[in-house]
Symmetry: C2
Subunit: 99 residues, 2 copies
DNA sequence: TAAACATATGAAGATATGCTCAATTGTTTT
DNA sequence: AAAACAATTGAGCATATCTTCATATGTTTA
């Protein structure tokens, strides 16, 4: 039997990663971004919350490097680059839909 | 470009799944259970919180069917059965450790 | 059956989270 | 330069979350 448990520091980081996916709005944001990059206004329409709320979420996601931003004129386009993150997210979606 | 976004209902379920993994204590609990079933007292020692706190966490995890319980005398042993859940969790751990 | 042990439950407090509103910053157009 | 547009930021509020404490339930042993 393995006597190893993740140390608190690592566990905190793992928890932070999963926490990024633990809110309905962020899940909708990320699922939208799987279809390609979107700007803040488009995300606000798709998710049904204010641009301000989207912006707050994007800041968190950006700080965790789960999304990257690209400015084009007045608009900022967000996308999910990391294939591991995409795979992780999709796996969660799949698990839920298989029930 | 895909115009589909997860509907709110599905997104909520996905968020709930990830939320189960979004707390440091629960991450430690689950990582401990990857090494085989453990009872509440053992988990409390390993994670460093009270048995009561463990019990509260286990209730949530049980309700989400992420763990199963087996009583043996006074003790209740918890385990993670679902291989998809194990895979999902491990993938999160891996992602964090690869940074 | 009483005592001891393991787990579960409910309440209460401290902290964290997510949202909107109002104001600000940055960019383009007139 | 002013106006219009897009995004960001900070404050404040409502709600959720996690923990401990005290108590209750369930099981075994004396």
């Amino acid at each position: 039997m393995a006597l190893t448990v993740l140390d608190e520091h690592s566990a905190t980081h793992v928890a932070e990663l999963f926490r990024a996916f633990s809110d309905t709005s962020r899940v909708m944001i990320l699922s939208a971004l799987l279809g390609g990059e979107k700007n803040v206004g488009a995300l606000a329409d798709l998710v049904g919350i204010s641009e301000s709320a989207i912006s707050h979420h994007m800041r968190g996601l950006r700080q965790m490097r789960l999304v990257t931003a690209r400015r084009n004129g007045k608009e900022v386009y967000y996308r999910v680059d990391d294939p591991h993150i995409i795979a992780l997210f999709k796996q969660g979606v799949r698990h839920v839909q298989e029930e």
